[in-house]
């Protein structure tokens, strides 16, 4: 395997893992403090038990998040020294603020985990709130760094020299708001449906129902709201890239020919050789409308970009279909949940709980798919229109071996963390 490929795969692998831990670490604290709040208000022991169970989850995912994040912060340099040498100073602002946010989070976590019965009740609860807020802040800040790679700004670039660096402008680049909004919602959708799904399964199996029902309602309320907002935010993202990264837009729609009143493809098999899409469903003029808000707007096709500037089409297109498909399904599931507040008899049906059980992994699948759209769709650029990925990779040969080691460790880690979670849930049920 070539060095560049190995480095790309390693970057993708480590980020795919980190994002799972990070999102859970970002969103679980909110569930935890809601449950904690209800315990303080109602003094219902079940809420206390739930809070403590979730607190363990937060602690576990925080450490895995921290460890995989530490590895990542080195990896950016280890794998892409050419990128970091120039980009480091420019996007340093969000990263250094992010460092501060992590720190606040770690301090608050220390207070929260060890503060039971030692700190004043309200202050203790409030440190939990701070964990959540600083977690979301750090998420937003890293995404600001990532969006800069999509919409580079805050510097002048001429003949390979970066000058006039303005770190604030780089941080507040044109893509940061849409990306950060979409990402934050995604974290709530993915974690919310996953947590709700796990508890739905326990209810489906008839185990410790009072506790799992309370847990389910807390998690799903967040998830449902976020899932309903998600398509709106996704539409904003799509309009954004239509303007700034037309090649990415063309790739994610598998749109080869430049056209006025371009149709939207749903599904379909991409033939990259013949540059066409088979077996698709076509909705006339919809792409033009979705991308530019005008049914007759012209959408530039891939054939009009130089071949060396085109991203891989099939992966990006499939990933996009998966994300949007799941996004639509989850938005409907969110609506269903709110409707079930009115038609309470649905919630007695086993099918209701089975349905939410089946949704457990979908949010995370959509989230990973979305990142693949963003990252692979940006190729061949590491910094859009400024630096190519192949120019950034480390000169050290043999990254393949590093990739093998990381793959081994991360696969192991996944199994072991899942195993730990199962043991936690079993312990919770046995205490009943």
């Amino acid at each position: 395997m070539e060095n560049l490929e190995a480095a790309r795969l390693q970057m993708a692998l480590t980020l795919i893992f980190h994002i799972v831990f990070a999102c859970i670490g970002m969103v679980m604290p909110f569930f935890m403090v809601i449950s904690h709040y209800k315990w303080l208000k109602t003094k219902d022991e079940i809420y206390l038990k739930l809070t403590k169970a979730w607190q363990k989850g937060v602690a576990i995912f925080f450490v895995t998040g921290a460890v995989s994040g530490t590895a990542l912060s080195f990896e950016l340099g280890l794998l892409w020294p050419g990128f970091m040498e120039h980009a480091g100073p420019i996007i340093g602002m969000p990263f250094s603020l992010e460092g501060a946010a992590f720190f606040v989070e770690a301090i608050a976590l220390g207070f929260y985990l060890y503060g039971w019965n030692k700190l004043p009740e309200k202050f203790h609860w409030f440190t939990g709130v701070i964990i959540g807020i600083s977690g979301v802040l750090s998420g937003i800040l890293v995404v600001a760094a990532n969006s800069w790679m999509n919409a580079p700004s805050g510097f002048d670039y001429k003949d390979g020299v970066f000058s006039n660096i303005d770190p604030i402008k780089a941080m507040l680049n044109e893509a940061w708001f849409t990306q950060a909004l979409h990402m934050t919602l995604a974290a709530f959708v993915a974690t919310g449906f996953a947590v709700a799904g796990i508890h739905a399964y326990q209810i489906y199996k008839g185990r410790n129902k009072p506790l799992h029902k309370k847990a389910f309602h807390i998690a799903i309320s967040f998830a449902a709201v976020a899932a309903i907002l998600q398509p709106i935010s996704g539409d904003l993202s799509a309009k954004d890239i239509a303007e700034r990264q037309p090649a990415k837009l063309a790739a994610l729609e598998a749109h080869y020919e430049t056209k006025k009143g371009a149709p939207l493809y749903i599904g379909g098999i991409v033939d990259e050789e013949k540059r066409e899409v088979n077996y698709k469903i076509e909705i006339p003029n919809a792409l033009s409308f979705l991308a530019f808000g005008d049914f007759d707007a012209e959408v530039k096709g891939l054939n009009d970009f130089p071949i060396e500037d085109q991203p891989p089409v099939a992966i990006v297109h499939y990933a996009f279909q998966i994300m949007v498909g799941i996004g639509t399904l989850l938005a409907l599931a969110g609506l269903l949940y709110f409707l079930s507040a009115k038609w309470k008899h649905w919630r007695v049906k086993k099918r209701f709980w089975l349905f939410f059980t089946l949704l457990t992994p979908l949010g995370f699948i959509a989230l990973e798919a979305g990142w693949i759209v963003t990252e692979v769709g940006r190729q061949p650029w590491i910094i859009h229109n400024v630096m190519r990925t192949k120019d950034a990779v480390t000169p050290m040969p043999g990254i393949f071996y590093s990739l093998i080691t990381y793959s081994f460790i991360y696969v192991l880690l996944t199994f072991v963390v899942s195993w730990l979670m199962i043991r936690q849930i079993n312990a919770l049920n046995n205490e009943e």
Partner: protein
């Protein structure tokens, strides 16, 4: 002006990482060298006193690395390219250690698997600081060969010999011992009963002796092999003063250990670390990478002013929020208990 703020935070995070993460690594090392009965006790004591700041201790390295890449990109570039392998190994150590920490404290079932977690924890506690030490040894040891177009350097010449050599190994061992030393002195103040206290006291004495031994070994080896860093070390008055001060301060430290004086043992052990770092850093400042042919200043290719200014401001604001918080955290869980006793 802002550059000094940035440099201050760079060294400040380095110091705190070496000290706080060092205490944490060291706790694992002490566990490794304790009898089975004492191992359990150490594990409990460490979790009780260090648990609340465990996460925070390990963030200093992230701050450190972010400052390096934002403000000193050229320096950072050499660091990550030529020391790629030991950095990766250190990261594996950090990963394994973090996992083992989670397992031993959060596994819902406390069963046989604990043996595995403990084993992994102890091994990773030695391996991680060892590679950290080696990385520093590699940076200043003068063994890194820069890549040159047109010569026939092998992979090993460029990417391995720079850090896999006697000097780096000695520095690695030195840092491992230093961690044990910090932890032993730190734990003395926390022991609940007498034989636990005795255990830490013994460990503290052994660590001190081994530490001094490795210190001399490094100086001796460097002098004999004419390692530039050590030659300069010996001729640099500030380094010599710092290292002599650290030797002098061993005396009150030992007195305080005898008297079981918690606060002072900690402060004095902290002094030791401070002097060692100060001695090592001033030798060549600002040249903190020494390769076989060339020395690199950390200030070479420093980021433009606008970047340094905004980084400095961010660090000042961040520091103003974080440091009081951290202080309050430590006070809530540690010093208060210390006053009570």
């Amino acid at each position: 002006m802002m550059l000094s703020v940035v440099l201050f935070f760079l060294f400040f995070s380095l110091f705190l990482y070496v000290l706080l993460a060092g205490a944490d690594f060291g706790a694992g090392i002490i566990e490794l060298f304790s009898s089975r009965n004492q191992q359990e006790k150490t594990k409990k004591t460490v979790y009780r006193v260090m648990g609340p700041i465990w996460e925070a201790n390990h963030i200093w390295i992230i701050i450190l690395i972010v400052i390096l890449w934002v403000a000193f990109p050229v320096y950072y570039q050499i660091f990550v390219v030529y020391l790629h392998i030991p950095i990766t190994l250190m990261l594996l150590g950090i990963t394994m250690r973090g996992l083992a920490f989670i397992f031993r404290h959060y596994d819902a079932v406390k069963g046989k698997s604990q043996v595995w977690y403990n084993g992994m924890f102890k091994i990773a506690s030695v391996v991680t600081p060892f590679f950290l030490g080696m990385i520093f040894g590699g940076l200043v040891g003068g063994n890194i060969q820069l890549f040159e177009e047109g010569t026939n350097q092998s992979f090993a010449d460029i990417y391995i010999k720079g850090w896999l050599n006697p000097f780096s190994i000695l520095v690695g061992l030195f840092y491992v011992t230093l961690c044990g030393f910090i932890a032993a002195n730190f734990l003395i103040g926390e022991a609940d009963e007498n034989n636990e206290l005795e255990n830490y006291r013994k460990k503290a004495s052994v660590a001190t002796i081994v530490l001094v031994f490795f210190g001399f070994l490094i100086l001796g080896y460097g002098y004999w092999k004419e390692v530039a860093f050590i030659q300069d070390f010996i001729h640099n008055p500030i380094s010599i003063i710092a290292i002599s001060l650290s030797a002098l301060f061993l005396i009150p430290l030992w007195m305080m250990i005898k008297r079981k004086q918690k606060t002072w043992t900690r402060v004095l052990a902290g002094f030791q670390v401070f002097f060692v770092i100060a001695a090592a850093m001033t030798v060549h400042f600002p040249h903190i990478i020494i390769t076989s042919t060339k020395e690199f200043s950390i200030l070479e290719g420093v980021a433009p002013n606008s970047v340094i200014t905004s980084l400095g401001v961010a660090l000042l604001i961040g520091g103003a929020i974080i440091l009081p918080g951290l202080f309050h955290l430590m006070r809530s869980f540690q010093l208060i208990k210390l006053f009570k006793k």
